[in-house]
């Protein structure tokens, strides 16, 4: 039987990075993947979504073009979904190809098939059985589903399905207004679908800071998306031509398709019967990604600490280092969260409510309507909000909606991790005119020193 120092199960962001890191640290390593390397992010998540959202953004620009004096003779916009899917597939293929060649160039052996980790420290997939000294279990996650009557209809899609849909649906009922729900709503509303979001809690993006949720909801509604909040789904009915979604308080929502986007759950199929400690459906790990079994580490979505690709990169790297005998912790306090709606949103750290529960806080706000570049670009929707601790000026949370928010949040996260306080940020010279100036201005506002806003009383 072939023996490896480290075997990685799962080729997503946590898994492939763990494999590369382990190899770099001198391990003979192998990686098992059941479909395509790159995981949910590359194949069925972030990257496909961003491809379509760019398309939506371009549509937005075309629609706004007349304001800038651009005359388009025939402004009727129609999205050829087959072409859009082909374009997306090209992007995905390019990236997964890149991952494959990275694995190859680092000497990682890749095996395809559904892997099972066995108690005798072997990993098998079909006929292949390999022995491992250490195992990194990075099985990822799968779409969570509501088990309600009618939800098994072919008209109820998951995010996996909708990225390969052949044409723009006439109407779409989105079940769950989280990140995936709002992003797909944003894209398909621009493509011309009549979109309804049905959300159980009080607002879209329920985990985000309240100001972000309000702003994104307002912007979606402005683009014609119907948003139902505090609405519980009861059942669905396939009427042959459409899907009818029944809720507890409104008329049923009828649409050509429904999208199930109520979150993701860890995929634990590779570790069934292994005795791995599971807590609320996820593998229990500490900050070092260690599990209760001393030869298994579990980074990424399987531990549900932070179901984001970039958090998975960090966790995968940490797991590989620890499997190779080092002692590293994955610090996920400042992991940014991005939502690629239009305008987009970026967050890092605590929400205003979370921060207010633990600290005496001061909130700085700067609207993009007062930012030169945003005005010039006609993208004035949104704001930068900084939540600082009054005592030390520690940046506790940054929440941005607006142009470049997902890029800008990285500056915030980097400064937070470096423990730079609002007092310093307010003094950093930012290029002008840039969207990022708003970040510096918000920091200044949090200490009452923003010179581009009226003085605080």
């Amino acid at each position: 039987m072939k023996k490896y120092d480290v075997i990685i199960v799962g080729g997503g962001p946590a898994g492939y990075i763990a494999a590369i890191k382990a190899a770099r640290l001198g391990a003979k390593s192998a990686l098992f993947e059941k479909s395509a390397v790159g995981g949910t992010c590359l194949n069925r998540g972030c990257i496909p979504a961003k491809t379509y959202l760019k398309t939506a953004e371009i549509i937005g620009h075309i629609q706004d073009a007349h304001r800038r004096g651009i005359r388009i003779a025939d402004a009727r916009i129609k999205v050829d979904m087959e072409k859009a899917v082909a374009e997306k597939n090209k992007v995905v293929a390019k990236l997964t190809g890149g991952v494959s060649s990275l694995l190859k160039s680092n000497g990682v052996d890749v095996y395809f098939g559904e892997a099972k980790i066995r108690p005798d420290k072997t990993v098998s997939a079909g006929e292949t059985v390999l022995a491992a000294d250490k195992v990194i279990f990075a099985g990822g996650s799968k779409t969570a589903k509501l088990s309600l009557p009618g939800m098994d209809s072919a008209r109820v899609l998951t995010s996996d399905d909708i990225f390969d849909i052949g044409r723009v649906p006439e109407s779409l009922a989105i079940i769950g207004g989280g990140v995936i729900g709002t992003e797909i709503a944003s894209a398909f509303a621009a493509f011309g679908s009549r979109v309804t979001i049905i959300e159980l809690t009080g607002n879209v993006l329920p985990m985000a800071d309240g100001d972000i949720s309000n702003m994104i909801r307002k912007s979606l509604e402005k683009k014609g998306v119907t948003v139902y909040t505090e609405t519980k789904i009861e059942r669905a009915e396939d009427t042959k031509d459409a899907i009818r979604v029944y809720t507890d308080k409104r008329q049923p929502v009828e649409a050509e398709y429904a999208l199930m986007s109520v979150g993701r759950v860890p995929d634990l199929s590779a570790v069934e019967g292994l005795g791995l400690e599971i807590e609320r459906g996820a593998v229990k790990t500490d900050d070092t990604m260690r599990t209760n079994i001393d030869w298994i580490w579990a980074p990424g979505d399987v531990n549900a600490k932070c179901m984001l690709a970039h958090a998975a990169f960090k966790m995968g790297e940490t797991a590989a280092e620890n499997a190779m005998g080092r002692f590293k912790k994955a610090d996920l306090r400042y992991v940014p969260t991005c939502v690629y709606t239009n305008p987009e949103a970026g967050s890092a750290g605590l929400t205003e409510r979370q921060a207010g529960e633990k600290y005496d806080i001061s909130v700085g706000m700067f609207p993009f309507s007062a930012n030169g570049r945003a005005l010039a670009s006609g993208e004035t929707e949104g704001f930068v909000k900084i939540i600082a601790d009054k005592k030390y000026g520690e940046v506790l949370g940054v929440h941005i909606v607006g142009p470049g928010a997902a890029e800008m949040i990285n500056e915030a996260a980097a400064l937070m991790a470096s423990e730079i306080t609002v007092n310093e940020i307010a003094g950093f010279v930012h290029g002008h005119p840039t969207y990022s100036e708003a970040f510096m201005e918000a920091a200044a506002d949090s200490i009452g020193q923003c010179l581009h806003l009226p003085p605080k009383k």
């Binding site: 005592k391 030390y392 000026g393 520690e394 470096s418 423990e419 730079i420 306080t421 007092n423 310093e424």
Partner: protein
């Protein structure tokens, strides 16, 4: 308010300094750390930096003047500021007073740092910020350390701005904190950990309760005044325990301690010199036999008293002692119930104590410590038998009681306990 510039004390031996020249004129603006004047002592000449920023308002001592250390030589402040009256007076006064030492912290430099050439301002800042001068690269023209060098050294402590802010607000010296960040950079968590470690390493002061103060005073007084001797003996209580077990119900069953009170009361009646107080003139033999029983409380102890114990039956003693102990634990004792004792019994037997040296409860002359009951094997007519033995530790005042008398006293108590029938009148 205008700030004084004083003749600095640089080195323990320095008493006066001579002003060589002023580098600034009256009315010039000076920044803290900027060279202000040059002085000369009998050993060395040096540059003096301004400690405060402002305008040089008034020069009091001029070139060539020999000025005692710590005396005002100039004032720095804001233009138009009124100078204190003494400044004007000082100028006119020709008399130079004797040097005042230790008037300012400039005089109190660490000897280890004294050999490092540094300007007084640099020394002061370094001392305040807890930075050793030896760790600072000098930037002065003659190789001396200047205030700006200290500031640079201070900034060189690698810590995040947040960590610095937290350290500053909690008065923690960052040079004592080890950093866990990249290349040893100090993070907020490191400061918080150092702070927590510092706090947990500190000893805790628990203020004395009123009771503790009384105990401390009385115990110390007794221990200091009385030449006390403790003698230990053993009583065989096998039969006493058998007798006690014959009482049918737990309610009426007297405790071993009740028997001891009874035995002590009877012995005191026979040997009244143990039921007494020592005075300079003589022994004051007490008429009543009032036996105090030490009761432990969470915060200390108290000694309720069974009055006229010699006149009580075993049952009465038992009831009274139960009642008093209960009241003591609940803090309900009336003043008369814990005063007027003539002899004290302290029982630590329940804790397994086998011998101790109780301290006499003044103005009494002796105290009986009761120890644990232990099983012992003995030979009895060729047979091995199990006997129950209890230790008695008697402390007495050797000023009025001698060893033999004490032995007779404790032996008699033991005798009563060994033969409980003797206690029946």
């Amino acid at each position: 308010m205008a700030h004084k510039v004083i003749m600095p004390k640089s080195g323990m031996a320095m008493e006066t300094g001579k002003i060589i020249r002023w580098l600034k004129n009256e009315g010039d603006r000076v920044e803290a750390g900027e060279p202000l004047l040059e002085i000369e002592t009998d050993k060395v000449s040096m540059e003096i930096e301004a400690v405060d920023s402002g305008v040089l308002l008034k020069i009091l001592a001029h070139e060539g003047d020999d000025v005692p250390v710590t005396r005002a030589i100039a004032y720095i402040g804001e233009p138009g500021e009124e100078l204190p009256e003494e400044a004007v007076k000082e100028e006119t006064s020709k008399e130079i007073k004797a040097a005042v030492t230790s008037a300012t912290n400039i005089g109190a430099l660490k000897t280890s740092d004294e050999r490092v050439p540094a300007t007084p301002a640099a020394k002061r800042i370094a001392k305040e910020k807890g930075i050793s001068l030896k760790d600072i690269t000098p930037g002065g023209s003659r190789g001396q350390i200047k205030a700006s060098d200290v500031a640079a050294a201070r900034a060189a402590v690698k810590a995040t701005p947040l960590a610095k802010a937290v350290a500053e607000s909690s008065g923690l010296d960052l040079s004592a904190v080890s950093g866990s960040g990249f290349a040893g950079k100090i993070l907020k968590e490191d400061v918080l950990a150092a702070k927590a470690a510092g706090e947990s390493a500190q000893d805790t002061l628990i203020a004395h309760s009123a009771m503790r103060k009384v105990i401390a005073k009385r115990m110390f007084q007794s221990h200091a005044e009385i030449p006390a001797v403790t003698q230990n003996c053993v009583a065989d209580v096998t039969e006493l325990m058998a007798l006690r077990n014959r009482f049918k119900t737990a309610d009426t069953r007297p405790s071993i301690n009740d028997f001891i009170i009874l035995a002590v009361a009877k012995t005191l009646k026979e040997q009244p010199r143990f039921n007494a107080s020592y005075t300079e003139e003589g022994m004051l033999i007490k008429k009543h036999i009032n036996i105090g029983i030490a009761v432990a409380l969470p915060e200390g102890l108290i000694v309720p008293v069974i009055n006229d114990a010699d006149k009580l039956t075993l049952r009465q003693i038992s009831e009274k002692s139960k009642e008093l102990a209960e009241k003591a634990r609940e803090g309900r004792l009336a003043p008369g119930e814990y005063s007027g004792g003539t002899f004290t019994i302290s029982n630590l037997g329940m804790f397994g104590v086998t011998s101790f040296t109780p301290i006499i409860n003044q103005p009494e002359v002796a105290i009986l410590g009761v120890c644990a009951i232990e099983q012992k094997l003995e030979m009895d007519a060729g047979q091995i038998v199990r006997r129950m033995k209890m230790g008695l530790s008697l402390t007495y005042d050797h000023r009025c009681i001698d060893g033999a008398q004490a032995a007779i006293f404790s032996n008699r108590i033991a005798e009563f306990l060994e033969n409980p029938l003797l206690m029946i009148d």
